[in-house]
C-alpha cells in the first residue's frame, strides 16, 4: 500500500469524527447569490508598489506583460532590469479585463501586515493590529467557506504566502464565529520546498495493506485510552482524501526539487526570483487542486527600502510571473474561462525617498503613514469576456477593501456575509 492510500484509510476515522466540528455553526446551505465565475485567484502584487512605477510608467513600462504601452525604461536603470522571456499571453493582461488606477489604501498604517490584512479581510486596520496572532476579523477564506455549501472544503481555499514572516497567520482569524474551522490551506512554498526541507523531510514509511490496517487498529486502541482530544495548534483540518492528495503532491514537488527538476523551470535567461518561484508553485497547486479561491502573495518589490533599481527589476520579474500565472490558468481544465483574477498591491510607497542610494544613483523608498503616495495603488480585474469588461480602464475612486466584497460577489456569497464590510463591489469591472 502506498503512503497515499494508507493516509486515506488511517485517517478515515479521525476525519469522520472531525466533520461535525468543521461544519458551519450557522448556515448549512449554499450561498444565495449566483456566481459570476467558479474560481477566483487574487494576486497580491505585494511588498509596496507605487503607481508611479506601475500604471503611471514613470520609469517606462516596467510591466510589459501586464500593461499596455511601449515606453522605454529609463536609461539610467535599464542596465539593472533583467531580460525576461516574451510574455506567454497573446496580448497584455490588462486587455483581458479592467484596470482600476485610483485605488486607495484609505485607512490604517501603511505597513505590509496591515496592508495584507486589510486586503484579505476587507476591513480597515489600525496600529493595534497584533503581528503575533491571527487577525480578529474574518478573512475572505473564512467568509467563503462559511457562507457556502459545506462541501467547500479547505482544499478549495489556498493562501500561498511568499515567506513565513508573519503571513501564515492570515489563513484564518480569531473571530469567534469563524476561525480555524473555516481556514484556508496555507503554504509558503519557497521554504517548504527548499532544499533542506525537501531532502530531510520527504522520507515516508511504506506499509502493506495488511500492516496499514493493523497500525490503524493500534492507533485507535492507543487513542481510546486517552480521553483528551488533541486540538491542533491553529492548523487547518483537511479530510482524509484531501490530505492524502496533498501528501502526494508535496512528495512530488520535493522529489522534483532533489532531482533538480525545479532548477529554473521557466527557463528565465538569468535566474528565477522568489516571486517567480512562488507563482510557479501556485501554478502547480492550481493544476493539482483547481481551488475555488486562491490568494498568491508576491513580495520581492520590498527591496525598494534599500535599492530603487532592484525594486523596478522586481516589478519587471513579477510582471512576467503574473502573466505566466494567467496563461497557466487558461490552460488548466476546470479553471480555463471560469476564473477571475484580481491583481493589486497591498500598499504603495512614499513619494519622498530615504537616504540610501543605489548603484545607479537612485534613492530608495520606504512606506510611511504620512505620505499620501503610500496609499495609492492600482487594481486589475481580468476574466472571461462576458463576465469581465475587456480592455477597460477605470479612474473612479476605489479602495483596497473593495476586493473582498468583489470576491464575495464573484463567488455568489456576497449577500450572505455575517459581518459588515466597509468596501463595495468593483461593479464596473463586470459586464
Amino acid at each position: 500500500m502506498d503512503r497515499r492510500s494508507f493516509l486515506k484509510k488511517s485517517a478515515l476515522g479521525a476525519a469522520s469524527m472531525a466533520v461535525p466540528t468543521i461544519l458551519p455553526s450557522g448556515r448549512l446551505f449554499a450561498a444565495t447569490g449566483s456566481r459570476r465565475a467558479n474560481h477566483v485567484v487574487f494576486c497580491l502584487y505585494a511588498g509596496g508598489v507605487r503607481n508611479l512605477e506601475s500604471v503611471l510608467k514613470n520609469e517606462g513600462n516596467l510591466m510589459p506583460s501586464m500593461l499596455k504601452g511601449n515606453a522605454s525604461i529609463s536609461a539610467d536603470i535599464s542596465g539593472s532590469i533583467d531580460a525576461m522571456p516574451s510574455s506567454p499571453l497573446s496580448k497584455t493582461l490588462q486587455e483581458y479585463g479592467t484596470l482600476f488606477t485610483n485605488i486607495k489604501f484609505s485607512d490604517g498604517p501603511t505597513g505590509h501586515f496591515n496592508g495584507h490584512t486589510s486586503a484579505i479581510t476587507g476591513q480597515h486596520t489600525n496600529s493595534n493590529l497584533s503581528l503575533r496572532t491571527n487577525p480578529p476579523m474574518p478573512t475572505v477564506f473564512e467568509l467563503y467557506r462559511k457562507h457556502n455549501s459545506p462541501t467547500h472544503a479547505a482544499r478549495n481555499a489556498w493562501w500561498i504566502s511568499h515567506s513565513n514572516n508573519l503571513y501564515p497567520l492570515l489563513n484564518h482569524s480569531s473571530h469567534p464565529d469563524y476561525g480555524v474551522n473555516y481556514a484556508a490551506n496555507q503554504i509558503a512554498p519557497n521554504p517548504f520546498f527548499g532544499w533542506d526541507v525537501s531532502t530531510n523531510l520527504r522520507h515516508e514509511l511504506e506499509f502493506t495493506d495488511q500492516k496499514a490496517a493493523t497500525i490503524k487498529d493500534l492507533q485507535a486502541y492507543m487513542d481510546s485510552n486517552f480521553k483528551k482530544t488533541y486540538s491542533l495548534n491553529s492548523g487547518v483540518v483537511n479530510s482524509a482524501d484531501d490530505r492524502a492528495e496533498m501528501v502526494a503532491w508535496k512528495t512530488e514537488m520535493q522529489n522534483k526539487r532533489v532531482t533538480g527538476q525545479l532548477n529554473n523551470p521557466w527557463s528565465i535567461p538569468s535566474w528565477m526570483s522568489g516571486d517567480q518561484y512562488n507563482v510557479f508553485f501556485a501554478e502547480e497547486l492550481i493544476k493539482k487542486f483547481q481551488p475555488e479561491l486562491t490568494v498568491v502573495n508576491l513580495f520581492d518589490v520590498d527591496i525598494a527600502h534599500e535599492n530603487f533599481s532592484q525594486y523596478c527589476n522586481a516589478l519587471h520579474r513579477a510582471d512576467y510571473a503574473v502573466a505566466h500565472l494567467w496563461d497557466t490558468i487558461q490552460s488548466t481544465p476546470g479553471m480555463k474561462d471560469d476564473t477571475v483574477m484580481i491583481v493589486m498591491p497591498e500598499i504603495g510607497r512614499n513619494q519622498y525617498a530615504n537616504s540610501l542610494v543605489d548603484q545607479n544613483g537612485r534613492a530608495a523608498l520606504d512606506h510611511t503613514n504620512g505620505d499620501p503616495m503610500a496609499r495609492d495603488v492600482f487594481c486589475m480585474v481580468v476574466g472571461p469576456p462576458g463576465v469581465v469588461n475587456q480592455d477597460s480602464v477605470n479612474t473612479d475612486l476605489g479602495a483596497t477593501v473593495d476586493v473582498v466584497p468583489t470576491i464575495a460577489d464573484i463567488l455568489g456569497f456576497g449577500a450572505d456575509l455575517g459581518v459588515n464590510l466597509p468596501g463595495s463591489v468593483l461593479q464596473s469591472a463586470f459586464s
Binding site: G194, L205, L218, K227, N233
Partner: protein
C-alpha cells in the same frame, strides 16, 4: 402435545445447566491511563522531544530549524507532524530493537516503549493487549510500533 412440550422444557433446562461460568461484566468502564498529562506540547517541544526520544540526544539546531521551517510553512499541522515523525523514523541512525529481540521478550520491549515515549509504565491491561498484538502480528517491527506511539494523542501531551 404435552410430551413435546415436556421434552422442550427438559432440553432448555439441560442447556441452561451446561454452563456454570461466571462472567464479570465491567459494563461501559474503560481503562484509563492518561499518565497525568494535561498540557499540549507546542510545536518546538514536540519536535525536540521526538528527536530526543528516537536518537537519545538533543536535537541539533540545524535539524530543529528545518523541522520548524516545514511546520510553519504548511497550514495542516497534523499532516506536517506526521511527515516529520515518518522522516525521523526513516533515519538509518536510529537504534531499533530487532524483531527477534522483541519476540524473545515482548514484555520488556512494551514496557520500555511506554517509558520511552509516554514516560510511564503500561497498565496490566495495556501490557496484555500489546503482548497479544505482537504475538498475533509477527511482521510488526519496532519502527511500526514507535510510529503508533508517536502519532497517538497521549504523545502530544506532557
Amino acid at each position: 402435545m404435552s410430551i413435546v412440550r415436556t421434552i422442550i422444557l427438559l432440553a432448555l433446562v439441560v442447556l441452561a445447566s451446561c454452563s456454570n461460568e461466571v462472567i464479570y461484566d465491567v459494563g461501559t468502564l474503560q481503562p484509563s491511563s492518561e499518565g497525568n498529562k494535561t498540557e499540549l506540547k507546542d510545536d518546538l517541544q514536540f519536535m525536540s522531544i521526538a528527536y530526543r526520544d528516537l536518537f537519545g540526544e538533543e536535537v541539533p539546531p540545524g535539524v530543529l530549524q528545518t523541522m520548524r521551517k516545514a511546520y510553519i510553512s504548511f497550514g495542516d499541522k497534523e499532516l506536517v507532524i506526521d511527515e516529520i515523525v515518518q522522516s525521523l523514523l526513516s533515519s538509518p541512525d536510529i537504534d531499533l530493537p530487532s524483531n527477534v529481540s522483541i519476540a524473545a521478550d515482548p514484555t520488556s520491549f512494551i514496557s520500555a516503549t511506554y517509558r520511552k515515549f509516554l514516560l510511564r509504565d503500561p497498565s496490566d491491561f495495556e501490557l496484555a493487549y500489546w503482548q497479544s498484538q505482537i504475538a498475533e502480528n509477527t511482521d510488526l517491527t519496532a519502527k511500526d510500533i514507535y510510529y503508533v506511539f508517536m502519532t497517538c494523542q497521549e504523545y502530544k501531551y506532557y
